[in-house]
């Protein structure tokens, strides 16, 4: 069984991103970039399927400028067998990413496609579901457990209030939630080996996809700041303030 894993290059999750003073965009000068944390979980899950003898090949794909090859090398160091970069300039919308990934799915014919549930830059939470609609594949989003069972996969999903399990006909799509697994660290020998693994580059033209734009970002701004309040001396004073000043408890 072939598994396709999508990864995205994003700002490292430890970086506190700010809006530029003129509000034109976010300030990403000289910030550390990394593989999106949810995508890292997706790679880990695919590699574990291979280690368990369920998957035979793990192919990592990323849509982005040349710099995203760095994140593909990370995926290869974590255990992916080969990589595909779909070269695009600048940022592309989730719908376009989904169309490009559909092109890769048609070329590669994987039985399972694993993606992160959302990227920590745009926070859209769309690409996996859109890919599902475009390819008419079933989806197990926000997965906390993935079990392959013959020609189907059982996915346990994190939903409001608890967990839900669905059975999906393969080929299918899984998007990862935080608790699906804990990704490993790449070892130095594996990082060295990753440099020799194959990495192909495709263009949108190769995949027959026109890059379109549906949404324009007009401006960005920092969120409304909350004023820090006061410190109270003890529980009695706290209860008094809540009752008589804030009037939020009776």
């Amino acid at each position: 069984m072939k598994v396709l894993v999508a990864v995205k290059r994003v700002v490292d999750y430890n970086v506190k991103v700010r809006a530029k003073a003129d509000g034109s965009d976010v300030d990403l000068n000289n910030v550390k970039m990394a593989i999106n944390p949810f995508c890292e979980i997706a790679v880990e899950e695919a590699v574990r399927l291979k280690e368990a003898g369920v998957a035979t090949e793990v192919v990592a794909v990323s849509v982005g400028p040349k710099a995203c090859q760095e994140q593909l090398r990370t995926a290869l160091a974590l255990g992916a067998d080969r990589a595909i970069q779909v070269e695009v300039e600048g940022s592309v919308e989730p719908l376009v990413v989904a169309k490009l990934l559909k092109g890769v799915v048609e070329k590669e014919a994987p039985q399972l496609v694993i993606l992160g549930k959302q990227s920590i830059d745009g926070d859209n939470n769309q690409t996996g579901q859109m890919l599902g609609a475009l390819t008419n594949m079933a989806q197990g989003t926000f997965a906390s457990e993935v079990k392959i069972d013959g020609d189907s996969v059982n996915v346990t999903r994190e939903i409001d209030g608890g967990l839900q399990t669905v059975k999906l006909t393969l080929p299918a799509i899984v998007t990862t939630d935080l608790r699906l697994n804990e990704p490993r660290y790449a070892s130095l020998p594996n990082i060295m080996k990753a440099k020799k693994k194959p990495l192909d580059v495709l263009t949108a033209d190769d995949l027959g996809v026109a890059i379109s734009s549906h949404v324009t970002q007009l401006r960005v701004e920092p969120p409304a700041e909350r004023q820090a309040g006061i410190k109270v001396g003890d529980v009695a004073q706290l209860v008094d303030k809540l009752k008589n000043e804030a009037k939020v408890i009776a």
């Binding site: 926070d123 579901q129 859109m130 399990t165």
Partner: protein, 309 residues
């Protein structure tokens, strides 16, 4: 102009988040219709018809929609959407699952988790875990939008008298089936709908001591939440997580106990009306957003608080 709101429901009752989605839809202008897709869901449809501001309710009542499987419901919504300018739903886990499929079937973008409607085509939404607010303009003729429920007031659940119409078309993609569900049963209010939330963090130290929150929650009719640190440490189940990747809450009163206040947690609760922080570390970032901060050991402060309210 007309907007279709996809209802969040359990076939019997309407979820409160849908009322916020109706408010957002009303702000987009024009008629607001609600689609209730489910099985034996007439009670939920009647509840939707009673919501103020809703002029029509469409009901698709079929076994294929019973568990809100995205593969089936998205086909239905995409078909019904032909008659509307906007498709809107509260950004619950069900809508997050389904609506991007609808958008892709319609070949349009989805605008996720809007916080405000600036005009018919312009919206504000948080990006980078809420560190930045983006104003975005859609050029799609048909817009698919999810709504951050805490950013919009709930429409009145009573007072409307919308007509109810059946949608007869049945879409069963036949590629997914529901196996089972483990939903926590609790007498407490739902985390995202409660007017008081009390959350514990790493400072609770273990799952046993989290029970110190129970008595206070009972007295205040509060929902209990947790920080990611408390969930990752296994103190509580993950559906209790408040934060950027968990639940977004904005109650009247939010009490953070033993929570340091990581940005991901703040993103999930900083729109609460009144925030109380109890933490023994006086430099904890949570105090920067708290209206009332108490520097104290939670193991003595919590029993005192329970006794005092």
């Amino acid at each position: 102009m007309s907007t279709l709101v996809l209802a969040e429901h359990d076939n019997v009752s309407l979820k409160a988040a849908t009322l916020s989605a109706v408010t957002a839809a009303s702000q987009m202008g024009g008629d607001v219709h609600v689609l209730v897709a489910g099985a034996n869901c007439s009670a939920a449809a009647e509840a939707a018809a009673a919501v103020a501001g809703v002029s029509k309710v469409l009901v698709a009542d079929n076994a294929a929609y019973e568990h809100q499987l995205a593969e089936n419901v998205s086909l239905l919504v995409a078909e019904v959407a032909a008659d509307y300018d906007n498709v809107v739903a509260a950004a619950t886990s069900a809508a997050k699952n389904t609506l991007p499929r609808v958008a892709a079937l319609l070949d349009v973008a989805q605008i996720s988790e809007i916080m405000s409607v600036e005009s018919a085509d312009t919206f504000k939404r948080p990006i980078y875990a809420g560190n930045v607010i983006a104003t975005v303009q859609s050029s799609d003729a048909k817009k698919v939008i999810t709504v951050r429920a805490t950013s919009f007031d709930a429409a009145a659940a009573e007072g409307g008298s919308a007509a109810i119409e059946s949608v007869v078309s049945v879409h069963d993609a036949g590629i997914s089936t529901f196996v089972g569900e483990e939903v926590a049963v609790s007498d407490r209010p739902e985390l995202t709908a409660a007017s008081v939330v009390i959350s514990g963090g790493r400072g609770m130290q273990n799952g046993e001591t989290c029970k110190l929150l129970d008595g206070i929650a009972d007295k205040l009719n509060a929902a209990i939440g947790a920080s990611r640190a408390a969930v990752d440490a296994g103190f509580v189940p993950n559906d209790m997580q408040v934060g950027q990747t968990g639940k977004i809450v904005a109650p009247e009163l939010y009490i953070a106990v033993g929570i340091s206040g990581a940005i991901q947690h703040l993103a999930g609760m900083k729109d609460s009306k009144v925030i109380v922080a109890i933490n023994k570390d006086e430099d904890a970032p949570i105090f920067q957003v708290a209206d009332y901060g108490l520097v104290a050991d939670l193991f003595s402060a919590l029993p005192e608080l329970e006794a005092a309210i």
